[in-house]
């Protein structure tokens, strides 16, 4: 069948359905994931804009919004339950359908096989299934808005018993919460299938010469992220099943006895609310590393490429990636310091949490080390990579406060952790996605994104996100509590209001600027400047093939790897970069 000795090549599909809808080609699936995340991020962004509207002006009426959301703006101002529903869905959609999807499902799917020299993922059909299950999952999640009672109000963390008791505990906690759980369960399944694929592909399908220590750091992060997903998502699935059984099956895994909600006696007993927290956060903490690791990989790739220097400390970077992944499994208790956890275990969790700061710090040193002595080209992708480092420092370093039990007593559930995780996930990880987009778009679509508009978008976004989230830390210090529909009911919260307004205005401007990115993306897909194989003069395997790549990636040829992934500025070489597939340099010359 194969005339060129290419293993694993599935025949190029011909029908529209098999080519664009039910494609098993990892490149198409990657694009599908990316666009799913794009839809999700704009939904999530819209939700956050509405949230910020209420926080800044809680008692204002918005007649136009009242027309669109009559239940949510009953009588004028946004209702607190609508705020909580928006907040729950914002968090859920952003964490799952954007941050766990775009970097891994989007770029990972597209570029992992190519960067290791394979023709496709190990299980192309499973890959297609993972995407479509994710798609259905998003549909089910969005459906929660449209059922009686609306979307759940228990936060993306869905703590029991609030999430387990049903409508008696609040609106949206009936059908809305059920749909939420089902959507998450589907997402878990899709993630597991995806993780299987990524790990197997890296272990078994690398081209000749592509040893583990010659893999680009992007591949290392996708690989580690997949391992984290494989081992953490099943625990969330277990928790979700138990929660659904409590809600629908009359069991009491999470509901203790003796509960009385609004004078209604609850007929469950024997369960433990803390059990939910354990199960959720055992998943939840690795999840946030799932969200950030691929961004770190992209940052390393971009910093090296555009500083024209090898990454500083490749080996240490690999060790750090693994250390972060591994340690990430042992710190979940730091979300539960004051939940009723045993104080001794809280202590242990705290110490381990602070040690996770060490590999993260090492990565930061190494990124700085990569810039040192380099020859920096300020493409939009590079701006995002540098921005990533700055935001990772700002966002990550406040973890040092929160990881300490005594300080966490004061800061837990305030705007301080909200600022912390938004800076790391909502911004740094996002910059990883933006950077990856500007870098890989030419390869994916054969055209360049507009650099001028890209830089303009970068500047507004970079300044904007700092303006939004750095003051938010102070709001937390001042005592501002999170998940509050407004900060006006307490005297000690009064000083917060000017900050709420400032943050909201910054958020509106930054959100509006994202339209620039959207327009650039779609316009450039059709009208962007056409590009060659390797517009960035980059070294990794994807830059050895045409833009966009042929169906089987390597056009019938088999790549053989001779060099590491970041050989820039090699003394004695004819160009200022050596591609991974270039012939070995004769050291005797």
């Amino acid at each position: 069948m194969s005339d060129s000795g290419n293993p694993e090549v599935h025949a190029e599909p011909t029908t529209f359905l098999r080519k664009w809808i039910f494609s098993v080609d990892h490149k198409i699936i990657g694009i599908q994931y990316y666009f799913l995340a794009l839809i999700a991020v704009f939904i999530g962004l819209g939700l956050s804009v509405l949230m910020r509207l209420r926080l800044a002006w809680p008692n204002e009426s918005w007649p136009l919004l009242e027309k669109i959301f009559p239940i949510g703006f009953d009588g004028g101002p946004m209702t607190p339950e609508f705020y909580l529903a928006l907040m729950t869905m914002h968090g859920t959609i952003m964490v799952f359908f954007v941050l766990t999807t775009a970097p891994q499902g989007g770029f990972g799917n597209y570029f992992l096989p190519i960067q290791i020299g394979a023709h496709d993922m190990a299980f192309p059909v499973l890959n297609m299934l993972s995407f479509w299950v994710t798609f259905v999952s998003l549909g089910v999640m969005v459906a929660a808005f449209f059922v009686v009672g609306g979307a759940p109000i228990s936060g993306w963390t869905a703590y029991a018993p609030l999430s387990a008791l049903g409508e008696v505990a609040g609106p949206g906690l009936g059908a809305g919460q059920n749909l939420w759980i089902i959507s998450i369960a589907l997402f878990c399944l899709a993630s597991l299938l995806g993780a299987l694929n990524f790990i197997t592909t890296v272990l078994n399908m690398r081209a000749k010469g592509m040893t583990l220590m010659k893999m680009p750091l992007t591949v290392w992060t996708w690989f580690t992220t997949a391992i984290l997903a494989l081992l953490s998502f099943p625990v969330l699935l277990a928790g979700g099943i138990l929660l659904l059984l409590d809600r629908l099956g009359g069991t009491s895994f999470f509901i203790p006895g003796g509960l009385v909600v609004s004078d209604t006696i609850i007929e469950h007993s024997g369960g433990s609310p803390i059990l939910w927290q354990h199960l959720f956060w055992f998943f939840g903490h690795p999840e946030v590393y799932i969200a950030i690791l691929p961004g770190m990989g992209v940052a390393s790739q971009l910093l090296s490429t555009f500083a024209r220097k090898p990454i500083f400390g490749y080996r240490a970077m690999v060790v750090a990636i693994f250390a972060i992944g591994l340690l990430g499994f042992f710190v979940w208790g730091h979300h539960m310091f004051i939940s009723g956890l045993s104080p001794l275990s809280a202590l242990i969790f705290s110490v381990i949490t602070l040690t996770i700061g060490v590999p993260s710090a090492i990565k930061t040193f190494n990124w700085l080390g990569t810039l040192w002595g380099g020859k920096i080209r300020f493409t939009t992708a590079m701006l995002y990579a540098i921005g990533f480092v700055s935001l990772f420092v700002s966002g990550g370093i406040t973890g040092l406060f929160l990881g300490q039990t005594s300080i966490d007593v004061q800061l837990h559930d305030t705007y301080f952790p909200v600022a912390h995780f938004h800076m790391i996930m909502g911004v740094a990880a996002l910059f990883g996605i933006f950077g990856g987009t500007y870098y890989w778009f030419p390869k994916m679509f054969g055209r360049m994104l507009n650099e001028w508009w890209g830089k303009f978008h970068f500047w507004i976004t970079f300044i904007g996100v700092n303006a939004i989230f750095i003051p938010m830390h102070l709001m937390g210090i001042m005592g501002g509590l999170r998940r509050y529909a407004q900060s006006t009911e307490f005297k000690f919260l009064e000083p917060l209001q000017p900050y709420q307004e400032f943050v909201s205005i910054a958020a509106f401007i930054t959100a509006a600027a994202q339209v620039i990115f959207l327009v650039n993306l779609f316009w450039s897909m059709f009208k962007g400047k056409k590009t060659s194989e390797n517009p960035w003069e980059s070294t990794t395997l994807e830059w050895t093939i045409p833009s966009p790549p042929p169906h089987d990636n390597f056009a019938g040829k088999i790549p053989v790897v001779h060099h590491g992934p970041y050989e820039y500025g090699v003394p004695g070489s004819p160009r200022d970069f050596v591609m991974q597939t270039d012939p070995p340099i004769d050291k005797n010359k």
């Binding site: 505990a169 609040g170 040690t355 559930d413 102070l474």
Partner: protein
């Protein structure tokens, strides 16, 4: 581009330092025995974080400017420096772990030590959306509670009148008084979902987890009235579960208790 980037980063650093200088708002003044230790720990951490943050961002900005391709033509080809890596790792690890261990002392005081003798006992039962405060009365014992007896208007905590210990129990709504300069033992419970009892001025926060009765202690050092807020999402009125902690002199406290028991 390079200089704008560097300057932007440095301006962000300056703005951040100013924001964290206390000029634009800060923690509410603390009035508890352990509060000082928590604030101190925050301060030490702030120094470490401030130095690391400033250093990293300033160096980032500097490198971005210094190594721009228009100014720096010759790349220093290197794969890293193992010695530097090791030193950086060790230093960071020592600093972080020291911080972690330093902060545990106050945690141990709050949670791992026993309740001091003669502490004033108070029980807080959180519910959607209020704080039920109960005092054991003269006999020093809390009466038994039975969920079936709970009635939001008449018997919010479900005190069992058949238990002799509950005769002198005092139950108030959203108002908690304690005597100044005396240890208070607080037991935290919940009627429905997870809430969290938070008094910013006391530097005290503890979740009220249904099914559990969590015990802790604190001591207030200054007379005054402080707000109690809920710090765990509990439903639609989570944002207005407002209570008042009144720290009174010993006589005023006894007087208040006597007044409350007459209801």
């Amino acid at each position: 581009m390079a200089i704008s980037f560097a300057v932007t980063i440095w301006l962000i650093v300056l703005a951040t330092i100013y924001l964290f200088s206390g000029q634009m708002g800060w923690f509410p003044p603390q009035v508890s025995e352990h509060g000082g230790a928590i604030d101190d720990q925050f301060f030490y951490t702030l120094i470490v974080v401030g130095v690391a943050f400033t250093l990293a961002q300033v160096v980032l900005g500097y490198y971005v400017w210094r190594y721009r391709s228009s100014a720096h033509k010759e790349v220093t080809y290197t794969h890293g420096n193992t010695k530097l890596e090791v030193i950086a790792t060790v230093v960071t690890a020592v600093v972080f772990v020291t911080l972690a261990i330093m902060g545990q002392k106050v945690w141990a005081q709050l949670h791992l030590q026993g309740i001091p003798e003669g502490a004033v006992k108070v029980e807080v039962t959180a519910q959607q959306f209020a704080w039920n405060i109960r005092y054991p009365g003269a006999d020093g014992r809390f009466g038994r509670t039975i969920p079936q007896l709970i009635n939001d208007q008449l018997n919010p905590v479900g005190v069992d009148p058949k238990d002799p210990a509950s005769e002198d129990d005092i139950v108030t709504l959203n108002r908690m008084a304690i005597p100044v300069n005396r240890d208070v033992q607080i037991t935290l419970r919940s009627k429905d979902v997870t809430h969290s009892f938070f008094v910013p001025a006391l530097r005290f926060k503890q979740d009220t987890t249904p099914g559990m009765a969590i015990s802790s202690h604190f001591k207030a050092l200054k007379i005054g009235e402080y707000e109690i807020a809920c710090a765990e999402l509990c439903g639609i009125q989570h944002y207005k579960m407002r209570g008042f902690l009144m720290v009174k002199s010993s006589e005023d406290f006894e007087g208040w208790l006597k007044e409350m028991s007459e209801y």
